[in-house]
């Protein structure tokens, strides 16, 4: 079998997810041995439109982005959204809750007309997406697992249970017990509850599980002293594009 041809692209993002690919360190050398990387602007010169798998990081924020993404979709057999900006809209959607003309004026003043922007959105709002790897940033081991599954012709599995499950397995004290609030009960696992383990709380960066019990989560947050506005703020941090946060 020929090695699959792989390309990386990015839109509005911090490029931290592609950095996690580089951060595979020695394992990256194995990955690039098993596939043929034909485009990875952050790390290599040269480019080809002939690829099988496209990993795309970042949110779509301009009409010109849509054309570029549609071009990538036409070339790729498999299109993978890499990270929360691409998969969910992510943190970029925070600007969607302000008037877009106000947003532009705030940053670019009287030159605002020169700069194109519209409410940020995930890739799937523009083109069909075959697979999503959530996370801000992605978990690099999960990325390696996805690549491995593709190479074996299997469908990769991303957990569909909440962070709380992994948090219990990590033997963490519940964040609510420590007097803080947490998005763990409704957030998709796969991170190993890394933020709680490091003494913080779950921010919700991997997005919501399928069919989250959002009402119950709102009640729990309210019981722990959060105002309606604060609760919305928690949901909007990463999942502002979803209906739940509106």
């Amino acid at each position: 079998m020929d090695k699959p041809r792989v390309a990386f692209f990015d839109f509005a993002s911090c490029e931290g997810c592609q950095l996690q690919v580089i951060n595979l360190e020695e394992d990256l050398l194995q990955v690039v041995g098993a596939v043929e990387v034909v485009s990875f602007r952050e790390a290599m010169k040269g480019h080809s439109d002939d690829y099988d798998i496209a990993f795309v990081e970042g949110s779509i924020t301009r009409h010109s982005d849509e054309e570029r993404l549609e071009g990538i979709r036409r070339c790729a057999k498999v299109l993978v959204a890499l990270g929360s900006c691409a998969a969910l809209g992510g943190i970029n959607c925070l600007k969607n809750f302000h008037d877009q003309e106000y947003v532009k004026k705030l940053v670019y003043g009287d030159k605002a007309l020169l700069y194109e922007t519209y409410p940020a959105r995930p890739l799937k709002a523009v083109v069909p997406v075959d697979f999503e790897i959530p996370g801000c940033p992605i978990n690099r081991n999960e990325f390696a697992m996805v690549v491995k599954a593709f190479l074996l012709g299997k469908k990769p599995e991303i957990p569909n249970f909440p962070v709380c499950v992994e948090c219990k397995m990590a033997e963490n004290i519940c964040v609510f017990e420590k007097g803080m609030t947490c998005m763990g009960p409704v957030t998709r696992a796969g991170c190993g509850a890394c933020c709680v383990t490091e003494g913080s709380f779950c921010w919700g960066c991997r997005g919501l599980v399928d069919d989250p019990n959002a009402d119950s989560q709102r009640d729990v947050l309210a019981t722990h002293g959060l105002s309606v506005q604060d609760v919305l703020g928690k949901f909007r941090l990463y999942t502002g594009f979803s209906e739940v946060a509106k």
């Binding site: 911090c14 301009r62 705030l106 490091e198 003494g199 941090l237």
Partner: protein, 428 residues
């Protein structure tokens, strides 16, 4: 017969973010020469409005994946300045350690993965994995060490979790610090090997000089990274609160990032600026590396920014060992951050890998952000990249087109631009 060389590099590779180089030379005359920033703007200042004091570092960390630690720490310092939060000596030492970790990670990534392929005339590090396997493994080993140091101190390689307003949520253990100290000490031969590899290829770095103003932090106590006053090689120091007198941002039509100027048309920030300002405070090993390359202040060759980064790699390793010894001597205390929320305005600056970074916030009495401004290092360098290109291209205009293109790309890459950072912020 007229001759024409048209160079259009759209989306320069092996840099962070999207920038274009357009050059047109007709009959030996440079007709066009432009550095364009075409990154999608993200409007972080707007994103921060209304968010809580403890969320700002988390959000601004997402300005940039490569310098997420720098953004986090600058953001925390700005919030602490606004609310008058006092910090323990232990917190400040661990923050300095974390900044060294990021400097190491970012500089090694840049030198090893992004610049080395130019010096060896290959498109990326991938072919080097078979032709220069030992050298690649050396770079990867140092990169891994820097990332694991970030994990240990910050709780994650990218977008750190442990640093919070007022301190840290969790501290490394004595044992973990002892292991890290040993690994840093053991890495010195690796750094020497990278230095001699780059030394053997340094002839590939163009000899190009343009007198430039360099700006960065300076401090009487140390080679300033975590704290200090703003200084210029043209003379003068300023408190960080007065940063707008230095940055003077303005818009240009071909760029989504703002440009800056101070005393001249442009200025440069980053490793070379720091070295030019604070050379005497480098550690002995770092000075040795600088001397090997004949790098002395004030050096006005932007391509030497690569070498200044290498010097800082040696500095960060040696200074981290000193910091760890200090921390171990005093013993690690399980301190908890303490913050009283209040209204206020505060600004902060940190030297991040690509240069001086400013954050400034205003909070209301509930600790909600009502105004924010971030000035990014690469923003401050865009105008200088343009001015360098304008001076460089006429010097090399008679060379073959491919060579002009590569040299122009190498110039942009020498700045290690973080373009996605640079279009996110800035307030008018």
């Amino acid at each position: 017969m007229s001759t024409e060389k048209i160079i259009k590099v759209n989306h320069v590779t092996r840099v962070e973010g999207h920038g274009n180089i357009h050059i047109k030379i007709r009959d030996g005359m440079v007709e066009e020469c432009q550095w364009q920033v075409v990154e999608a703007p993200r409007f972080f200042e707007a994103m921060l409005r209304g968010r809580k004091w403890y969320e700002l570092a988390h959000i601004t960390s997402r300005i940039c994946g490569i310098c997420s630690i720098g953004h986090t720490i600058t953001s925390l310092k700005a919030t602490e300045a606004a609310m008058g939060v006092a910090l323990s000596e232990q917190t400040e030492k661990f923050r300095r350690l974390l900044i060294h970790a990021e400097n190491l990670q970012s500089h090694i990534l840049h030198l090893g993965y992004l610049v080395l392929p130019d010096l060896l005339r290959v498109p990326s590090i991938i072919p080097l994995a078979s032709t220069h396997k030992d050298e690649v493994l050396l770079v990867v080993r140092l990169h891994r060490l820097a990332n694991e140091m970030s994990d240990l101190v910050g709780g994650r390689t990218t977008h750190p979790q442990r640093p919070v307003v007022g301190g840290f949520t969790k501290w490394p253990t004595t044992e973990e610090l002892e292991t890290l100290r040993q690994r840093l000490a053991d890495s010195v031969p690796d750094v020497e090997a990278v230095a001699s590899l780059i030394k053997s290829l340094a002839g590939e770095l163009p000899q190009f000089i343009r007198e430039t103003e360099y700006i960065g932090l300076t401090s009487a106590d140390e080679y300033a990274l975590y704290d200090g006053d703003i200084a210029s090689t043209d003379g003068g120091t300023w408190p960080v609160d007065n940063y707008k007198e230095i940055t003077n941002e303005y818009l240009v039509p071909h760029s989504t990032a703002k440009f800056t100027r101070h005393k001249r048309d442009s200025y440069m920030v980053g490793a070379l600026a720091r070295l030019n300002l604070n050379y005497d405070q480098l550690t002995p090993k770092a000075k040795q590396v600088a001397e090997t390359f004949g790098l002395r202040p004030i050096n006005c060759n932007p391509f030497m920014n690569n070498i200044a980064q290498l010097v800082e790699v040696a500095h960060s390793i040696e200074d981290s060992i000193r910091l760890i010894d200090d921390l171990l001597k005093n013993g690690i205390k399980d301190e908890k951050p303490s913050v009283s929320i209040r209204a206020g305005r505060g600004s902060a600056a940190v030297e991040v890998p690509r240069g001086i970074l400013f954050h400034e916030y205003e909070y209301n009495k509930d600790g909600e952000c009502v105004w924010a401004n971030c000035v990014i290092p690469t923003n401050q360098n865009h105008a200088n990249i343009q001015k360098d290109l304008e001076a460089l291209v006429p010097e090399i205009k008679d060379r073959p087109q491919e060579e002009i293109e590569l040299t122009a790309e190498m110039l942009v890459r020498a700045y290690d631009p973080c373009i996605s950072c640079s279009t996110h912020c800035i307030f008018l």
